[in-house]
Amino acid sequence: MRLATQLAVESDQITADLVEITEFPQLAQRYQVRAVPRTLVNETSIEGALPESEYVKAVVAAAQKS
């Protein structure tokens, strides 16, 4: 979670929404969130908590796809 906000600070292109999913069950359903944490990069999913280098690489790769 912290990584997402750090990326938003470091890049003007990135925004970070941190969603407490039990309060927004409609979003859990819409994005089929079954396990947390789950990061959606635009529409691509990153599952689980990753170390910084892997998370950043996954975000950059997903950003290039979309």
């Binding site: 929404d17 999913i21 309060e23 927004f24």
Partner: protein, 141 residues
């Protein structure tokens, strides 16, 4: 009773002693149909009181529609964590549990306008030229 214990307050106050730039927390709330709005607003007030670098603004999603549109907030409770500029950081729901440390970290990062990410990470991210929306879903425990 306060949401933050005396001990929590003391620890956070120490963390916030290092804040350099002004931080604005913008909390969106509503009276009805929002289970955690009241507690979220209370938490924001308690956090904002722990540093004179933090300012809190509270808006009602139903009434202050211009502000909601300005910050692109469409659900509550929502809290924007802003420094000298809006970095696009939004917390939806009450940021307790796991989210609380991310929330405190975000306050410190926007205050400094930078983070502790490695030079490699920063270099990778600097190559992003299209808008990217990260949505991180979590639970309090």
């Amino acid at each position: 009773m306060a949401l933050l214990s005396d001990r929590d307050q003391q620890e956070i106050r120490q963390q916030f002693a290092g804040l350099t730039g002004q931080v604005t927390l913008i909390n969106f709330t509503q009276e009805l149909g929002c289970h955690y709005c009241r507690d979220t607003e209370r938490l924001m007030k308690e956090v904002a009181e722990l540093s004179d670098k933090i300012r809190l603004e509270v808006y009602n999603l139903q009434i202050d529609r211009d502000k909601a549109a300005q910050f692109q907030v469409d659900k509550v409770p929502a809290t924007v964590v802003m420094g000298v500029k809006d970095y696009g950081i939004r917390f939806y729901g009450i940021p307790m549990g796991h989210e609380f440390s991310a929330f405190l970290g975000a306050i410190q990062d926007v205050s400094r306008g930078t983070t502790d990410l490695s030079p490699e990470s920063r270099s990778l991210v600097s190559g992003i030229s299209q808008p990217v929306r990260l949505q991180v879903f979590s639970t309090p425990t």
